[in-house]
């Protein structure tokens, strides 16, 4: 029977994938065409969702985007025989998936499996090289696992880019009767969805990565702190975790190794600051999400005061391929001190939004135009914000910056979690600067003054400035206030809110001046 694939990822659903799937099944039944309908994950070509694939002897063929109204014409064109001439002539025919330029040029390592199969099928996962990393890890000493991760050059993908192996080594070296692996799945940054995509499209790779982390540092309990805005991720994680327990990949005596590891998902409750690792730990402990002073580092005194690895979803989901193919294989990708690949998320005013995983080193321009196809509105791209709400706004003159942690630091910008949000020339950058302060005021945990008061004051002063009151004086005030926030805040919430504000001011001064003239 012919296999037809319709994704079940949230973004696919948001564009009607369930309705498309239903329509395909109904039409097949009506016409007596026998198909097996599989709800696969998404490959991340989100501008083409619902992205329907049909299996052929040459590989999968794509038709996209398929709305329910297109379904009957697809059957008329005999699309289930996707290599037929009639199928090829259909206006939604895109050809073989593996030949699509957008995918072919990517370096899919962390996302190697995403979109290929049914994400909740453990059999599919294993067939597609899943659990090979764990198999190797089970034969290795903790020290060797940590060394492999260190040698791979993997740096935390949650934002701070701290070397994962070094963090693990600290936890490994700490002696305690209990240690924890905490997966940071709070993904609060606007313009990011790669964590969500892993959890919905290849959840077992995260489970495997956490299990390996547990073996590496001697932790037996893992928690996934999942943002409450992701109900589909929650359902898929719970389903796959329970399958992993039943198949002996979690629990006591993992695959007869004598090692144990347990995972539990905990839902967050809509506070952006709980993405910060110490606020997250407070929240997991059942407290308000107030940022902790460091030291002690979470690696020394983390959850319930025990040594704890806190890692982003992508960091953990990248561990299995490192343990499977070796540290060097991963480290061979990338540039400078940014080794491996970065799952980049193209968002905002962009024609071809979605997930692009590439070795570090590609430029913003390549991403925005070669992959993104320019703005969705067809107007010039005026600015992009990279790295979430605390990331700088970059003007077109900086679009040739390579995606590399150090190159971004040099221009006072951050890569963060790899989200790129494009804005066309209708954007008012003064408004975006105001929004940055407003967001900080809403989401500040309130523990330190520069952030708690600074954000509110900053917004007031910007409003005054743009309404023409004492422009020069208030401009100086914003700059002074930004200095205070950057140097005096306890965490990057207050410490980096000035990034979007100052970059908007520095690169787009006219947007601030025009209103007072």
């Amino acid at each position: 029977m012919i296999k037809v694939f319709v994704p079940r990822d949230s973004t696919a659903l948001s564009l009607g994938a369930n309705r498309t799937a239903k329509a395909i099944q109904a039409e097949a039944d009506k016409r007596g065409v026998e198909i097996v309908l599989i709800r696969n994950g998404s490959r991340g070509l989100f501008w083409l969702e619902p992205f329907v694939e049909v299996e052929t002897e040459q590989g999968r063929v794509a038709f996209a985007p398929v709305k329910p109204k297109d379904v009957s014409s697809l059957f008329d064109a005999n699309f289930t025989d996707a290599l037929s001439n009639t199928a090829k002539e259909h206006s939604l025919y895109l050809g073989l998936v593996k030949e699509l330029k957008w995918l072919k040029k990517q370096h899919r390592l962390t996302f190697a499996r995403a979109g290929i199969s049914d994400p909740v099928s453990l059999d599919d996962y294993i067939e597609l090289d899943g659990y090979k990393g764990l198999k190797n890890a089970l034969t290795m000493s903790s020290e060797d696992i940590v060394k492999a991760v260190t040698d791979s050059g993997l740096r935390g993908r949650g934002g701070a880019a701290f070397p994962t192996g070094i963090k693990w080594n600290t936890v490994l070296g700490a002696s305690a009767n209990q240690k924890y692996i905490v997966c940071n799945a709070d993904e609060g940054d606007s313009g990011t969805f790669s964590d969500r995509m892993i959890m919905e499209n290849d959840p077992f790779v995260l489970i495997e990565g956490m299990t390996i982390a547990g073996l590496a540092v001697g932790a037996t309990q893992g928690y996934i702190y999942l943002r409450s805005e992701y109900p589909h991720s929650l359902a898929i994680l719970n389903e796959t975790i329970s399958k992993a327990y039943n198949a002996g990949y979690l629990g006591d005596d993992i695959k007869g190794s004598g090692k144990s590891f347990y995972i539990e998902v905990r839902r967050a409750a809509g506070a952006y600051i709980c993405g910060e690792e110490t606020a997250l730990l407070e929240s997991l402990e059942g407290k308000r999400g107030l940022v902790r002073f460091k030291p002690p580092l979470p690696a020394v005194e983390g959850l319930f005061a025990k040594p704890t690895v806190v890692n982003n979803v992508i960091s953990l989901a990248t561990v299995p391929i490192i343990l499977d193919k070796g540290a060097q294989y991963y480290a061979d990708y990338g540039m400078g001190r940014s080794r491996g690949t970065l799952p980049i998320q193209l968002a905002g005013n962009i024609k071809q939004g979605g997930l692009v995983e590439l070795a570090f080193g590609a430029t913003l321009r390549e991403l925005l135009y070669d992959y993104g196809g320019g703005s969705a509105t067809g107007r010039p791209i005026k600015a992009v914000q990279v790295g979430g709400p605390l990331g700088a706004y970059l003007p077109e003159s900086q679009f040739d910056t390579p995606l590399d942690y150090e190159a971004f630091a040099k221009i006072e910008a951050v890569l963060g979690h790899g989200g790129i949000v494009a804005f066309d020339d209708t954007v008012d950058m003064a408004k975006m600067a105001c929004y940055a302060f407003e967001f900080c005021a809403i989401e500040s945990c309130g523990k330190c003054t520069p952030c708690r008061i600074g954000a509110v004051r900053g917004l007031e002063v910007l409003h005054k400035m743009t309404s023409g009151q004492d422009y020069e004086k208030n401009l100086q005030l914003v700059r002074d206030l930004s200095d205070t926030m950057m140097s005096g805040s306890l965490c990057a919430m207050g410490g980096m809110t000035p990034y979007p504000v100052l970059s908007a001011l520095n690169h787009f001064p006219k947007d601030f001046e025009s209103q007072h003239k």
Binding site: S10, G188, S190, F193, R227, E229, R288, G289, A347, G348
Partner: protein, 159 residues
């Protein structure tokens, strides 16, 4: 209102409290369990929660008020969350917000007069490649325009 709540819902709430006793960091999952079940977290239960979790009432209150997700008052039959974050702004979410507020005649954190829909802001739904986005209950919608808002609202208003 709270009198009618007490009888049936209190039993449910007590069951949730019992089920979470002894769990490490129980307060967070417990509050979710209660809100999922009852629709909100009634302030009358703070004493029970504080006793079971060995916390002061002030701590329980401080916890619940810290998190945007938790609410201490009932909401409408349906909850419409509208994304206000940057990616959606880049695709015109501000106009959409204004349209929705006018259409429902409510501002954020309020419920329509007929009790059907509560309107909430949200900061990113992870659907940013297809902005602007909204979520009705647990259904997510991308590349939303005004016409689609009409459809989404009409669908729930008639049940």
């Amino acid at each position: 209102m709270s009198d009618t709540l007490a009888a049936a819902d209190l039993i449910k709430i007590e069951a949730h409290i019992d089920a979470h006793k002894g769990l490490p960091g129980a307060l967070l999952p417990l509050m979710h369990a209660i809100q999922d079940d009852i629709g909100y977290i009634p302030e009358e239960i703070y004493p029970q929660v504080s006793k079971a979790m060995a916390l002061s009432i002030a701590e329980v209150h401080g916890f619940i008020s810290f998190y945007h997700h938790f609410r201490t008052h009932p909401v409408g039959k349906h909850v419409l969350q509208v994304c206000r974050a940057e990616s959606c702004q880049a695709m015109g979410s501000e106009k959409l917000e204004a349209y929705i507020k006018a259409k429902l005649s409510v501002d954020y954190h309020n419920t329509t007069a007929d009790g059907k829909i509560t309107l909430l802001p949200v900061y990113c739904l992870g659907n940013c490649a297809c902005s602007p986005s909204v979520m009705m209950n647990e259904e997510i919608y991308g590349r939303v325009d005004m016409k689609q808002i009409d459809d989404i609202v009409n669908e729930v208003i008639h049940d």
